[in-house]
């Protein structure tokens, strides 16, 4: 037995009567030999089942009796909703006790007979394999697949062409109309509205150190049309004000308005919205991957995985004194894309 290699074992058809290695002797459980231990195990299993039933009753009682607004202070675990906690504990406990009880029953009390079931080779017996092969050959001859060349060749041609629709479908995965990625809603003269409240802003509304999240005025009209989220996501900006002499460089001459700068809110790395603006350092920190942009220096990257500066929006005021975009974004906002070059 020991001289046989594994390949010989795999190809052999004879099932050996003897196990390949000696089995350890069967040891009886305590519950098999001691009737008192068996009775104890029986009681344990029954107790678990009864407890489970009691927990179900407690579940119903908690459902009926505990007001859903009641809270419990669990010290280090915080303040939790009492109803949720009790319902979860009772129902979870009831299911768990049925499971533990069943396993305990199976392990301690159910029959402890050990059965050896040897693995056998996976391949079919030789005669079955020969028979299947012979049947296949007969079928091949009867179908005329070999003689009828025109049928065979047209079938092969049809099968070769069959994947073409699947390849055509791949076109839908892209490239998309990349102009969608290049453009935002912002255009010359669009008023800058504060997010949520949609109030227009005057320059004097921002003092040095102020941060405002804002959107273009036309955004609400777009909301009925498709791709609202895309339009909103691309057009989100932040406004910050610093002392004009603190601005070291900008992406365009005079793109600020008296020290008020407008930048895209969308990280150029993978597009997280950023508003972690540190007003002393003028750094804008992305919470996703810690890309850091210096807004006092053209929005250039000073740290992190972002490869491109934060696009700046040129701003000015209209004749009524409200802050407006002096032009649209001059470079695509958000993460890089293949066609961007």
């Amino acid at each position: 037995m020991s001289e046989k290699t594994s390949t010989e074992l795999a190809t052999t058809d004879s099932f050996s009567e003897q196990p390949l290695y000696p089995l350890p002797p069967h040891r009886h459980r305590l519950t098999d030999t001691d009737p008192r231990a068996a009775r104890r195990a029986e009681r344990q299993v029954a107790t678990m089942f009864v407890l489970s039933a009691l927990l179900v009753v407690a579940f119903v009682a908690a459902y009926v009796g505990v007001d859903v607004r009641t809270t419990l202070n669990l010290g280090p675990f915080g303040v939790v909703n009492a109803s949720n906690l009790l319902l979860g504990l009772t129902m979870g406990g009831a299911i768990l006790l049925i499971g533990i009880g069943a396993i305990h029953w199976a392990k301690k009390l159910m029959s402890d007979e050990e059965i050896v079931d040897e693995r056998h080779p996976l391949g079919s017996p030789k005669e079955d394999q020969d028979e299947a092969l012979a049947e296949f050959q007969t079928g091949l001859a009867e179908s005329g697949f070999v003689e009828r060349k025109i049928v065979r060749r047209s079938l092969i041609g049809a099968l070769l062409l069959f994947p073409v629709p699947l390849i055509v479908f791949l076109r839908d995965m892209g490239p998309t109309d990349v102009n969608v990625l290049r453009e935002t809603l912002w255009k010359k003269g669009d008023r800058i509205l504060v997010d949520i409240t949609l109030q227009p802003l005057r320059p004097e509304d921002l003092i040095v150190g102020t941060l405002v999240s804002a959107s273009p005025e036309g955004l609400n009209e777009v909301q009925e049309i498709e791709h609202t989220q895309n339009a909103r996501a691309k057009a989100s900006i932040i406004l910050v004000r610093m002392k004009p002499e603190e601005i070291r460089s900008q992406q365009g001459q005079g793109w600020d308005y008296q020290g008020i700068l407008a930048f895209s809110k969308i990280c150029t790395h993978v597009g997280c919205p950023i508003a972690l603006y540190q007003q002393r350092t003028h750094h804008l920190l992305c919470p996703c991957h810690q890309s850091t942009f210096d807004l006092a220096d053209s929005g250039n990257v000073v740290f992190g995985p972002a490869a491109r500066q934060m696009p700046q929006l040129p701003i000015t005021v209209d004749e009524e004194g409200y802050l407006v975009a002096a032009d649209g974004f001059q470079q695509p906002v958000g993460p890089s894309f293949w066609e961007r070059g």
């Binding site: 939790v80 509304d205 102020t210 941060l211 999240s213 603006y277 540190q278 919470p287």
Partner: protein, 260 residues
């Protein structure tokens, strides 16, 4: 017609000058008048007491006249609100130069803080300490506060107000211990690296709504059970991959173990 418009009266220039001067004067009075009205009512002795405290505890960094220096920013125009916030939360005076002043028990008592605030407010007009009425959340809209919080505050202070990391050892502090007045003052003055949110861009009622939302967070109720610090997927992931999976593995081992 032509001759009269060309040959102006001698007094015309004088009259224009007079009107201009008067308009400027009244305009200035009106502007400074409102500024004074919003400043806290401080008497001279309080300012004097504040100055004494200032020279002892603050002037080393912020300069003898509050003009600032290499160790501390100028305090001219920061207003009483900034002083009240920084000193009451113990952030000032700073024990040693650090990237970020931590919250600690206040060094000065309320009377001294009021004196300091009065002195710094006298250096230049700035935001006053908000009144109890200003920080009242009685009529505030909690839902709107949540929306405003998520737009303006959550990026740094975390969606549950637990705070978060910034760059170079700086951090946005947890809001769990902040009082309504402190929150209001922080929004108004922008302490340390926090941007400011003046009333013009974030009006008083919106600030009140945000305070109401933060108070709601501070109650700490967690209807979903154990919040694990409300820090998001990292703590939740660590918990479920260690404790959760550990329990499952232990159960599997127990089920498969041989019984004696």
């Amino acid at each position: 017609m032509t001759s009269s418009s060309v040959r102006r009266h001698k007094a015309t220039g004088l009259a224009v000058l007079l009107v201009g001067l008067l308009a400027t004067g009244f305009g200035y009075a009106a502007v400074t008048g409102t500024a004074q009205a919003s400043a806290p009512t401080a008497n001279a002795s309080q300012i004097e007491a504040g100055k004494k405290l200032y020279l002892e505890g603050c002037a080393t960094c912020h300069g003898l006249a509050g003009q600032g220096g290499s160790d501390g920013p100028s305090l001219i125009g920061v207003g009483a609100a900034a002083v009240d916030f920084q000193v009451k939360t113990g952030r000032m005076p700073l024990a040693q130069p650090v990237n970020q002043a931590p919250r600690k028990p206040p060094v000065y008592n309320d009377e001294e803080i009021a004196a300091l605030a009065a002195f710094v407010a006298s250096l230049g007009a700035g935001p006053a300490i908000p009144t109890a009425e200003q920080v009242s959340t009685e009529n505030a809209d909690l839902a709107e506060g949540g929306e405003l919080f998520r737009t303006n505050c959550a990026q740094c202070h975390n969606f549950a107000g637990k705070g978060g990391a910034l760059s170079y050892g700086k951090y946005a502090p947890s809001l769990m211990d902040a009082t309504p007045t402190e929150i209001y003052e922080a929004m108004l003055t922008g302490p340390q690296n926090m941007p400011n949110f003046p009333d013009a861009s974030l009006p008083e009622e919106e600030k009140q709504a945000i305070i109401k939302y933060i108070q709601n967070l501070q109650q700490g109720e967690s209807p979903g059970g154990l919040a694990l610090g409300s820090l998001g997927p990292v703590t939740e992931g660590v918990f479920i991959w260690t404790a959760g999976l550990g329990i499952l593995l232990a159960a599997a081992v127990w089920i498969g173990a041989k019984v004696r």
